[in-house]
Symmetry: C2
Subunit: 355 residues, 2 copies
DNA sequence: CTATTTTACGAAAACGATATAGTACCAAAA
DNA sequence: TTTTGGTACTATATCGTTTTCGTAAAATAG
């Protein structure tokens, strides 16, 4: 089954003109008389001729599409990022081609390979949790493919990057727990290899240290697959709950881990925050109506997508090679809710709805 | 900034061969000697030459990419559908180009227009809530563009379609409420124009009628934007809560409406299910940990995506025009949780965790 | 040792557009 | 009358492939 299209050739033949004339008429060239232009345009409209973008791309060496690689669209944070990307890409006439790595390095490689073999004008990527080797990206860049990293960065690739202030966000989140009386704070994060994890871990440690709390390695759990496998989160929490010295709070470092932790604790009949408090990075719109409402660190996902796309298109459309790269840092928002506030501790602050 | 690629011409020149020979060697043609093939393949590997897919597409008239149009990726159900689509599309070597309509007919038109002007081999679409006129799709199909509708269907377009059993699902959901003692059941749904809404409404009405409950039009609220605007949901609920005769349960017909309803009721300090029960269509993974845990109707989103993509690729790759179209109907799952079960009503059934 | 068939390759025409370089035609200037 | 110049168009090369057709040279047959 194939869709038959009418081409310039057909138009030219039908009107007794040359192909060049038709092309120029459609491109509103000064070389073509008003009469001819009208003739062509009318005919084309009537037959609803659409120029073949592939032929155009071949001629121009541009495909007007940008590739997006991230772990999963099925994730509040990343789907909001996509929204942001789309909002600027479409405005500038670019399509976005989305590929999911599912936090697998192998799939990331395949995706990137496939995307470039598919002729994208540029690539937006948040690497997988498994990615330690960035050669696939470095090579791309050496070839001159415009590239922007977002969320998960690396020093190894020199290009524009967009991130949030991970250290500070994690620091503030942890500090919030400490201020609310929690002293034995566990941290569940993704693979230690990716920037967001290590930076958030740093922030967590910094807050502990500054408050004279020991950093207990038993309290720090890594989920290599970034929570894509709920089991790995379950195992991490199970281990935490088996310690002689139980943590009194958990700070989770990513969307999937946060929600999976809440699900686990609920199933395990843990009272939050009485038995154990929970604060986490998440962009779900449902934080307010979770049980209990969840103290969350929210990222400006839409904005991140917008900036990433803007920067990428800037690179794509730049007439000259760009060597001067920026790393943009966005701020998060700490939304304090019930999962971290013990009722007896803050009696006045807790005059809210629904309990 | 532009990425420089090595072409067959370069390879040919470097090896002292003709372009045709290189092409044939790479395509493993019988016309080329083993020695030459090896020579070419080695060189190409070393220089990592990648064939230009645009030139290929131009030659073959196929772009190996399929367009996807839906209201928003930032939505549990649709993001899972995308996962399903991707899983089969990539296996078959197709890219997916995702466009969001944001429930706007105008944007849907623009998206579809843009996609076909971008040379997709086929289109997967769940129309927007605003879409009443399907001429844009009918025209596409007349041109021979393979098309598969999913989730939101219409009789007007003759092609493969994938849906869930909306009537039955809504019927069972409503029945569940009735069995649990609710008699004044409100229904908040999307625009009455789209299939899922009208079918779900039918199921709701059927359940009421079969149980000798009156269908009260004041209890039925439409959200033209499918909940994309949270205000319209808020207004709908506010109106329900202002009725002299208050509903004792709400049945919501889509993901966004469901979650927004929960948020509203929570803010309004309504006790669920004591003041008002809630059951809704939603695919969020968080239903279990919402406050209260939410009785939900879950759709096989991933499977829907897979089927839609499979059917579309079948059309694309069919050698002959297809006239024999199918409508596949998938079943949903009713997950009974606390938002619809009054404690005093079912004292034995309610021995669960966390309250 | 010529005639025929294979084998292995090259030339060239597509695919559908754009862009450069002509070229008729007619009018105004020299 | 010749020159210049503008207008309005056409021819053609090009983008990077694939594919059809043609043809040398080598292999086989007669």
């Amino acid at each position: 089954m194939k869709v038959e299209r009418i081409t310039m050739k057909d138009v030219a033949k039908a009107l007794g003109l040359s192909i060049s004339t038709v092309s120029k008429a459609l491109n509103d060239s000064y070389e073509i008389s008003a009469a001819t232009k009208e003739l062509v345009i009318n005919y084309v409209k009537q037959k609803n001729y659409v120029p073949n973008p592939i032929a155009r791309s071949l001629k121009h060496g541009k495909s007007k599409s940008i590739g997006v690689v991230l772990c999963a669209v099925d994730n509040a944070f990343y789907s909001q990022v996509i929204n942001g990307i789309e909002s600027v890409a479409h405005k500038k006439g670019y399509n976005i081609i989305i590929n999911q790595s599912h936090e697998s390095y192998t799939r990331e490689l395949i995706n990137v390979q496939h995307l470039i073999s598919t002729s994208i004008d540029g690539l937006l990527i948040a690497v997988s949790t498994e990615t330690k080797d960035f050669n696939h990206l470095i090579k791309l860049q050496e070839k001159g493919l415009p590239l922007v990293l977002f969320d998960r960065l690396t020093e190894e690739v020199k290009t524009h990057k967009i991130k949030i202030n991970n250290m500070q966000s994690a620091y503030e989140g942890t500090l919030h727990l400490i201020k609310n009386g929690f002293k034995k704070i566990a941290h569940i994060t993704s693979s230690s290899d990716i920037s967001i994890s290590s930076e958030r871990l740093e922030g967590y440690k910094k807050a502990l240290r500054e408050n004279n709390l020991v950093v207990n390695d038993d309290f720090i759990k890594f989920c290599t697959h970034g929570g894509m496998l709920s089991e790995e989160v379950d195992v991490a929490i199970a281990q935490l709950l088996e310690l002689k010295e139980l943590p009194d709070a958990i700070f989770t470092a990513s969307d999937r881990i946060t929600t999976q932790t809440l699900i686990y604790l609920t199933k395990a009949s843990k009272k939050i925050p009485e038995d154990i408090a929970l604060i986490g990075f998440t962009n779900t719109a449902l934080a307010e109506v979770l049980n209990p409402s969840l103290t969350s660190i929210t990222q400006p996902a839409f904005e991140m997508g917008q900036l990433a796309a803007t920067k990428l298109i800037e690179l794509i459309e730049s007439k000259f090679p760009v060597y001067d790269f920026e790393t943009l840092i966005l701020e998060t928002e700490l939304n304090i809710r019930k999962s971290t506030v013990k009722k007896d501790l803050n009696p006045k602050e807790d005059e809210e709805t629904n309990d």
